[in-house]
Structures are given as C-alpha cells and as structure tokens.
C-alpha cells in the first residue's frame, strides 16, 4: 500500500515537473516580425499593421492630401466607431495613419480638435492666460491664430462572428473615410477586411 502511494506521488511529481517545463519564459518579440499571437476574437497587432499599411498606401496613392496651393492639408482625427463586441483602442490604427501622413510631408494633424474633444487642450488653455496677471500679455498666444482642419479622418470597425461545428471565425470589417470639411464629401475611402478562423479541440478549451 505504501509502495503504491509512493509510486503515485513519484508519478504525479514527474508529470508536474514535465508539464512545468512546457512553458516559456517571458521574452520580447520583434514587432515588425510575424511572432505575435493570433487570436480569433481580437484584432492583434499584426492585423493593425496590415490595416494601417493598406490605408496609408491607398491614401498616399490617391493624391487627395496634395493641395494646389503650397499649404499642407490639416487633418482632424475624428471618431472611429467600435461596433465590435471587443474592447478595441482605435488609436492603434489612427496613430499609424497620422504618423505616415505627417512623414509624407503632405499634411499635418491638428491636436486642438478631434472627434472626442481636443487631443491636447493646451491650445485653448494658453489663450486663457491673457486673463491671468501672472503672464505678460504680449507673450500670450492671441485668439484667432489656430488653423482649422481641412479634412477629417473617421471610420468604423464592425465584427461578425460565425460558428459551424467546432470551427469558429471572426470577420472584422474596417471602413475608413477622409471627409472634406468644406463640402462634406468623402474624398478618400478604404476598407480593410480581416478574417480569422480556428477549430476547438475535442477535449478542453
């Protein structure tokens, strides 16, 4: 009886030891590589990279950012509506697009106004300093100097889930638009489709 108990303990111990050896230590991965995790229900960082790359490519190729005068187009980042069941931070897409636009040299982004209020409230705050006796009024930024945006970047992310037997998939549809604020017309639009599929094992999760 004692021998059996001992054998069981040794077996369990050995199994635990082997299983604990299956894990990997936390390690950094190259974000430009293909090493990231792929999950069905989430938009993973590689998905954002693919979506951003496509949007930037078609936007720069369209030539809509190039103005006839020498002035750079001023872009306002409006709202990217999250119509998925997941928590999605849409800045992962919009920041990628705005950085590419800035580096193209054809446009600049305003932080004084955005879809969810000013991204940087400082533009408004510094103008209010004219009423503060602490500051030299001649050094305070005057009213009426901020440049209003010409176009607005907005979009929506939609998710559709499908299940068939043990297979399940998520389809994400990202639609982005660039609207000319003078006319209200969309001067550029693009879609990015992401579809991911997996199959549940017979046992477990």
């Amino acid at each position: 009886m004692k021998l059996r108990l001992l054998l069981t303990a040794v077996t369990v111990g050995a199994a635990a030891f082997v299983l604990s050896g299956c894990g990997t230590e936390a390690h950094r991965i190259d974000t430009s590589s293909n090493q990231g995790l792929t999950t069905v229900d989430d938009i993973n960082f590689k998905d954002w990279q693919i979506a951003g790359e496509k949007c930037v490519k078609t936007m720069l190729d369209s030539g809509v950012l190039k103005r006839k005068d020498d002035r750079k187009t001023v872009i306002m980042i409006s709202t990217v509506k999250n119509s998925t069941n997941e928590h999605v931070n849409t800045r992962l897409l919009t920041d990628r697009i705005r950085l590419a636009i800035l580096r193209s040299g054809q446009a600049v982004t305003t932080t004084a106004v955005s879809g969810s209020g000013p991204e940087d409230n400082a533009s408004r705050q510094v103008r209010e300093l004219s009423n503060d006796k602490m500051f030299n009024k001649s050094t305070v930024v005057k009213q009426g100097t901020a440049i209003a945006p010409d176009v607005s970047l907005a979009g929506e992310i939609v998710q559709q889930k499908t299940k068939s037997g043990r297979s399940y998939e998520s389809y994400f549809f990202i639609h982005m638009t660039l609207t000319d604020l003078k006319t209200g017309l969309a001067v550029w639009e693009d879609n990015v489709e992401i579809a991911k599929q997996a199959k549940k094992p017979w046992f477990g999760w």
Partner: protein
C-alpha cells in the same frame, strides 16, 4: 506482385493528394493598352526554395500625382505540374504563404524609416500572379528594396 501493388497505392495516393491542390487558370487581353515603366532589377536570393517557387516576372514604377514613387513587383507562383503539386500537398504549401517587406531609400542610399516597415503576409495560389505594391512614404524616396521570405512564426 507486392511491389506492383505498393507502387500502385503510392501512385493513387499521389494523385489523390494532388487533387487537393488547387491551381489557377487565367485569361487576359492579348493586345495591351498599358505602357508601364519597367525597372531593371537586381536580385539577391538566399532562399533557393522560395526563388524556385516564386518567380519575379517584372518590376514597374510610376510617380503619382502627389510626387510619390509607386512600385509594383509582379511575381508568379511557378510550382505547378504533377510533382510540384504533390510536393506542395505534402509540405502544406497550398496556397503558398509568404511574408514581404518594402524598404525605401533616399537619394543618398539611406533607409527611410517608415511606420509601416513590417513583414506583411501574402498568399499565392500555384499558377497565379501576385502583385506587391507600395507607395513611397515621402517624395525623398528614390529607390526601394523588396524582401521576401517564406511564412513562418519568426
């Protein structure tokens, strides 16, 4: 007799496996209207398996309205035919998946950092053409390099 049976089974299995491999038939207009600016290319291949499977057909470029260079690299998956299809079926290359990345260089040969300099996935069905397109991140970019490698998790 046993040998003949074994050979027959192997052949049948090969044919069955090849049946799982889909290739592409294409049709296009013969008299072309397009007048592309072809780029003379220089290739450095370190992965002969990839080189033999994906053949670079041509490279074209244009400058768009915004003054940005746009390039298109046309390649074709040449791994068609019985033995190639058999091998693709066995090795799981159906469709063939790969990763690509564009690097842009300025007139001084300096690599221009771009927010989108990442390896991107692409699938190519045997027999089909694939077009790798990219637009220069700014007007200072004068040259480019396309890197290709087989799809993996690294």
């Amino acid at each position: 007799m046993k040998m003949i049976s074994l050979a027959g089974i192997c052949l049948a299995a090969g044919i069955a496996l090849c049946g799982c491999q889909n290739t592409v038939n294409t049709v296009e207009n013969k008299n072309k209207e397009m007048q592309p600016q072809e780029v003379i290319s220089k290739k450095v291949s370190t992965d002969s398996f990839l080189r033999d499977r994906l053949k670079i057909v041509r490279i074209d470029k244009k400058v768009n309205e915004a003054g940005l260079m746009k390039v298109q690299v046309t390649a074709v998956n040449v791994r068609t035919g019985f033995f190639h299809e058999l091998w693709s079926s066995l090795s799981g290359g159906k469709p063939y998946k790969l990763l690509y990345k564009f690097t842009w260089l300025d007139k001084d040969g300096m690599a221009v950092p771009t927010p989108s300099a990442n390896w991107l996935p692409m699938s190519v069905i045997p027999g089909d053409d694939v077009y790798f397109q990219a637009v220069a991140p700014n007007a200072n970019c004068k040259d480019f390099k396309l890197s290709l490698r087989e799809y993996d998790k690294d």
